[in-house]
């Protein structure tokens, strides 16, 4: 038996009555945003991890700008300067009258390291940021953009920080031989990315961190990736 070509094509198209569920648009858009964020973070748009010390108001300003009035503003771009990417994370660490916050932002220039100031809309959010040279183009599970602790000009000292890609629940290391744990915060734009930092009272600028490890919620060890982990203070 042979099959007519038109019949075959009609079979490919399927029964006219065939119907499936409609496209899960909300889920597609949500996952698409996450994927887009990951791709940008991978280096395509120079995603840079930035620690910023907020001064001249510190926590007060932060509370005022972030949570002023219901409903909470969801778009970080409405709160923070253009280029800020996702919600900044409060570390609770105070430096010279300001709170240290961890945030990601875009810079138009790739591969630069600098300290700069920025403003938030019409509010002056004068602060300094220490830019991480984003040279880890390979994006995968593990540590990324780890930055050593050290002083920022006129603003105090920044902790060791970075981000982890993957379902991390706990990050540990040894600080001059002592076991230490990082603080973690899931990034607002992608819950597979966690921003982390080591409090300065555990890891100061002259501490050498070794034996980095990451664990998921079940205590299972996660790959650490290819980032340099022999971090020392500056």
């Amino acid at each position: 038996m042979t099959n007519d070509f038109d019949d075959f094509r009609a079979a490919l198209w399927g029964p006219a009555t065939a119907a499936g569920r409609p496209a899960p648009l909300d889920e597609i858009v949500r996952e698409g945003r996450k994927l887009r964020a990951r791709r940008r973070l991978a280096g395509g748009m120079a995603g840079l991890a930035v620690f910023s010390i907020v001064v001249g108001g510190g926590a007060t300003l932060w509370e005022k700008t972030t949570f002023a009035g219901p409903p909470p503003v969801e778009s970080a771009a409405e709160i923070w300067p253009a280029g800020t990417w996702g919600a900044p994370v409060e570390t609770g660490m105070q430096q010279r009258g300001g709170q240290v916050v961890l945030m990601l932002s875009f810079l138009r220039t790739t591969g630069m390291q600098s300290i700069g100031c920025f403003e938030a809309a019409d509010r002056t959010l004068s602060g300094c940021r220490r830019v991480v040279d984003f040279t880890e183009r390979t994006f995968g599970t593990g540590f990324h953009a780890i930055h050593a602790a050290g002083p920022v000009r006129g603003q105090g000292t920044l902790p060791v920080f970075g981000y982890f890609m993957g379902p991390v629940h706990k990050i540990t290391a040894r600080a001059d031989g002592r076991p230490v744990s990082a603080q973690l915060s899931v990034w607002s734009e992608d819950n597979d990315v966690s921003l982390f930092w080591f409090p300065l009272d555990q890891v100061s600028g002259d501490t050498v961190l070794t034996d980095w490890a990451a664990f998921d919620a079940d205590g299972k060890s996660l790959p650490t990736g290819r980032a340099r982990l022999d971090v020392a203070g500056g």
Binding site: M1, N3, T17, A23, I28, E31, L35, R36
Partner: protein
């Protein structure tokens, strides 16, 4: 951004059924097909600002094909010993079901490459050049695969269909 999202949603709603159908023809499994179509649209969304003014449907088709071929990740199967079943003669209301069962059985007897060429050529109506580009094959290879697949499927083609014009291959 909101307008872009609206445009994407409109595109996704319209293209999802066809992408899902193509995926079903390739993997033969409802849930896997739905997942593949959804993945293709997620990736299309991620690239939306770059492709929306070009041809987003072509992009989505390409992503779908790559996603499925990546999933296969196995040597090209040559199952020359397998028999294509005879197409059932329609007798009653169950014709559609019977025809779909025959189609899946027939497609599953093709090699992966033959199968994807058939779906891209005759379901997506892509040109041989387009198929070759997506699959990173020579155009001649696409023609040969198409010819072999149709022959295995025992699909007869009219002269004016111009589907079996494979150089060096006698009809």
């Amino acid at each position: 951004m909101a307008r872009d999202d609206d445009e994407f949603r409109e595109f996704a709603a319209a293209s999802f059924p066809r992408l899902r159908r193509a995926a079903f023809l390739l993997v033969g499994h409802d849930q896997q097909a739905e997942d593949a179509a959804q993945t293709a649209l997620v990736k299309t969304y991620a690239a939306w600002s770059r492709i929306q003014r070009d041809d987003p449907y072509a992009y989505a088709r390409r992503v779908l094909a790559n996603h499925i071929t990546d999933q296969w990740r196995r040597p090209i199967r040559e199952r020359t010993g397998e028999q294509i079943p005879d197409r059932p003669v329609p007798r009653d209301m169950a014709e559609d079901v019977a025809r779909q069962q025959w189609l899946l059985a027939a497609l599953s007897a093709l090699t992966d490459r033959e199968r994807i060429v058939i779906v891209m050529r005759h379901y997506f109506d892509m040109t041989e050049v387009e198929v070759a580009s997506v699959l990173n094959l020579a155009v001649g290879s696409v023609k040969s695969l198409n010819f072999r697949a149709l022959r295995k499927l025992r699909v007869t083609v009219r002269d004016d269909d111009d589907l079996l014009m494979v150089p060096g291959v006698a009809r």
